[in-house]
Structure formats: C-alpha cells, structure tokens
C-alpha cells in the first residue's frame, strides 16, 4: 500500500504473491460467481468442449488485477478495467501479474496502466489496461457518488 507515494510513468506494481488456481478454489469461485459450466470442473467436460483439460475462469486473473490496483493505488478511484484473455488458464496454474503506469494526465492526474498476467511457464494469459483518477481531484467524484 502506498498512501503517500507520488507515481511516475514507468512505475510498476506487482501482485503480492503468485496465485494458485487449485481445483478447490476454482470450484468455489464458480459457485460464488454463478458460473456452473462443467468445463471449469472436470477434464471430461472440458474435453467434450474441445478444451485440453479443465479450465479456470479467465475473469479470475482480471480479479487479481483489480485487487492489486485497489491495494496499491489507495488514493485513486478505478474508472475502467479492461482485459483480453489471450491464453487459457488451467487447474494447477499459478498466476503472477504486474501493472505499469503508461501515462499520467498532467491536468487531471488520471493514470493509465498496462496490465500483464502470466502463468508459471511465463506464458502471458492476460493483457489489460486500467484507468484511475486521483481521489479528491477535480471531477473524480470521490468514493461515493
């Protein structure tokens, strides 16, 4: 958490720890988010849908990015979060990720980040972007609108 930090273009933040996508976590996530697709649960169902084995939810990698942004940019409000799921994630994968500040608007102080999430084989599984506005900055609207 960086309460007082002044950010600059090129600064990078990381997921605090690699995130293991074990079967128990994937099943529980599917239950809580209402995604009952069996392709997330068993290899047999995944094979039937032409996937090599049971796949994890792509949105999980994005959720880790959202968490990282909230934790690192405590004085900022998330305006947009976007991700392309460029490779599948599977049971047993371990995801790591980081975000890099690509631009800071000199007037509004809004920031744009690029986001990358990779698996344990260093294959990129997610590429994304986020935009943030500084809390209290003109037009940011504060936390509660």
């Amino acid at each position: 958490m960086n309460l007082e930090r002044k950010w600059a273009i090129g600064d990078t933040v990381f997921l605090a720890v690699p995130e293991l996508l074990d079967s128990k976590r994937i099943a529980a996530f599917g239950e809580v988010c209402g995604d009952s697709s069996p392709t997330h649960l068993t290899d047999a169902a995944a094979h039937a849908a032409n996937y090599p084995r049971a796949i994890a939810h792509g949105i999980l990698g994005m959720a880790f990015c959202g968490r990282m942004i909230e934790q690192e940019f405590h004085d900022y409000k998330l305006l947009t979060l976007q991700a392309r799921f460029v490779a599948m994630t599977f049971h047993g994968d371990t995801l790591s990720g980081f975000g890099t500040i690509e631009a800071i608007d000199t007037e509004t102080k809004n920031m744009r980040l690029s986001l990358i999430v990779s698996n344990q084989r260093e294959t990129i599984v997610l590429r994304g972007t986020a935009t943030l506005s500084e809390l209290g900055a003109k037009g940011s609207g504060g936390r509660q609108q």
């Binding site: 976590r25 809580v32 209402g34 995604d35 949105i59 994005m62 409000k77 976007q82 936390r143 609108q145």
Partner: protein, 159 residues
C-alpha cells in the same frame, strides 16, 4: 466447435438487439466470499462498519464483481441462444468495466443487455460476440457498464 449456419443477415438482425431488463440484488455474503476467493482482504469488502466509515452504503464489491451479477441474473446465455450456441462452446475473450458508482451490498440493481456487435475473424473460423450490459442502482444512478467479448469457434458449413 460449433456447427451452425451463420450469416451476415443473421448478424445484422441481431446487432443492437436489447434483451428484457433484469433485477439483481447484491448479497453481502456473496461479496465477502468473492473477495475471500480472490485474496482481497480489504476491509471495505468485508466489514460493513469500515465500509460506511469510508463513505460507502455498505461493503463494496470488488471491481470484477459486476460480471458475477450478470451471471446470477441469467444473462450469460441469452445472446448465445440466439446464435444456437451454449456457453460451454465459447471462450471469454475480453471484458471491459466502466465504473460510475460503487456496487454495495444490499443494492438492488436493474440491468439491461444488448448485442453490441457480431463479427467473424480468422477467415471465418471464429465468431466474436460482443455484448453490452448496464447496471443502474436503486438510486437511479448508472453504476456500471460492461462490454464482454465471447469467442465462438466455428466449424463452418458451406453457405
């Protein structure tokens, strides 16, 4: 791989289609569980008092929770059904969230879904279905807009 007869006229007839509005309520228990599963220990996602002290109505949903609301409201397969495809035959290709107002436990949201675009890529072997969602809260505020891209692998029949 989907064996279906898809064509430009079908795409054109579906682009812009809006589905009936839906209502979904945010459960505090579900927000806490979701936050726990993604490793988000932020107190505003767990503790109502902490969330209120931070200026929220109640505990707030993590940034990607809006997708869950669409799933819970049974919205994930409506547009796919119009193409004769099931959700198991698709990949989640891309997702974008635009945030306007926080999603808080207890909120009752009214949503709508529409087909933003349909386009083939990679020589007609993939169909990209782009759907949009908006969620308005009980105060009448636009809370969230989402744009989702679902990818359908096609086994094209001769036209």
């Amino acid at each position: 791989m989907v064996e279906i007869e898809l064509s430009e006229p079908l795409y054109r007839s579906l682009i812009g289609k809006r589905y009936p509005p839906f209502t979904v309520q945010i459960s505090a228990a579900r927000v806490r569980k979701y936050a726990e599963l993604i490793g988000d220990t932020g107190r505003v996602h767990q503790d109502s008092q902490a969330a209120r002290a931070a200026g929220y109505r109640d505990i707030t949903a993590p940034p990607t929770f809006g997708f869950t609301l669409a799933l819970l409201a049974g919205q994930s397969d409506l547009a796919l059904a119009d193409l004769g495809v099931t959700v198991n035959e698709t990949l989640h290709g891309e997702h974008r969230f635009d945030y306007f107002s926080p999603l808080c436990a207890g909120d009752v949201l009214t949503g709508c879904q529409w087909i933003e675009d349909l386009k083939e890529k990679k020589g007609g072997t993939l169909l990209f279905l782009i759907t949009g969602f908006e969620l308005n809260n009980q105060l009448g505020e636009l809370a969230l807009r989402m744009i989702q891209t679902s990818i359908v692998p096609l086994n094209r029949r001769a036209r």
